[in-house]
């Protein structure tokens, strides 16, 4: 899958997510399937429990269905799912 700046407009429900870095110590090491999404948070199923993660406070590693792993800062993903569809990010490289 080709990685373009459009990646922030994709659907993350159903992908595997892992938290690589975080400003909150309690979030480190959480991984699992993304179950729900709101304006500021993700719901991850971690070892049978539902955890709510604030998007602003973490850097995520998402694994898509074809095996690609993408690292995205949570600050770029803030927004309701239907508003995130129209967002643009300036290409820096």
């Amino acid at each position: 899958m080709k990685i373009t700046p459009d990646i922030i407009c994709h659907e993350f429900i159903g992908t595997e997510g892992k938290i690589a870095q975080s400003t909150h110590a309690g979030y480190l090491g959480i991984s699992g399937k993304i179950v729900d999404e709101t304006k500021n948070t993700f719901m991850i199923q971690h070892e049978g429990e539902m955890k709510r993660i604030v998007k602003d406070a973490a850097v995520f590693h998402f694994t898509f269905s074809d095996g690609a792993v993408v690292e995205i800062s949570g600050k770029l993903l803030v927004g309701k799912p239907e508003d995130r569809l129209k967002k643009t990010v300036k290409r820096l490289w």
């Binding site: 459009d6 659907e11 429900i13 159903g14 729900d36 799912p81 239907e82 508003d83 569809l85 129209k86």
Partner: protein, 123 residues
């Protein structure tokens, strides 16, 4: 005004497809979550100004956005009055949807053949 180009509409189409697949998977275990997925899919379609495919439209309840499974959370009946139509009743919210039933083209062709195969009266 924000105009969507074709790549953005393609992404929207993919997102709706993924959401409906995930909703079908979690429906039996967690119907409320499936309802949330369908609501999000409809909002994405509204934001991208595109229609849902007919097959998806027919398996959701327009009132409460539940994913309908015949025999489990909805009732399907065929009614003959006025014109033949199908009525789907959602058992959780009571909302009804109707859509018409059209005679298929193959059936009409068979009827024409039947008339042709009849033996003529003057023999």
């Amino acid at each position: 005004m924000f105009k969507m180009n074709s790549t953005a509409k393609q992404i929207a189409r993919q997102r709706i497809q993924v959401l409906f697949q995930q909703a079908a998977r979690v429906n039996k275990a967690n119907p409320t979550l499936a309802q949330r997925y369908v609501t999000t899919a409809r909002k994405i379609a509204m934001s991208a100004r595109m229609r849902l495919p007919t097959s998806y439209k027919r398996e959701i309840c327009k009132n409460c956005n539940a994913l309908l499974v015949p025999g489990w959370n909805c009732r399907v009946r065929v009614k003959p009055r006025r014109e033949t139509h199908v009525v789907v009743t959602c058992l959780s919210c009571g909302g009804q949807t109707r859509f018409p039933v059209k005679a298929k083209k193959e059936k009409m062709k068979l009827d024409q053949n039947n008339y042709k195969n009849e033996t003529p009266r003057s023999a």
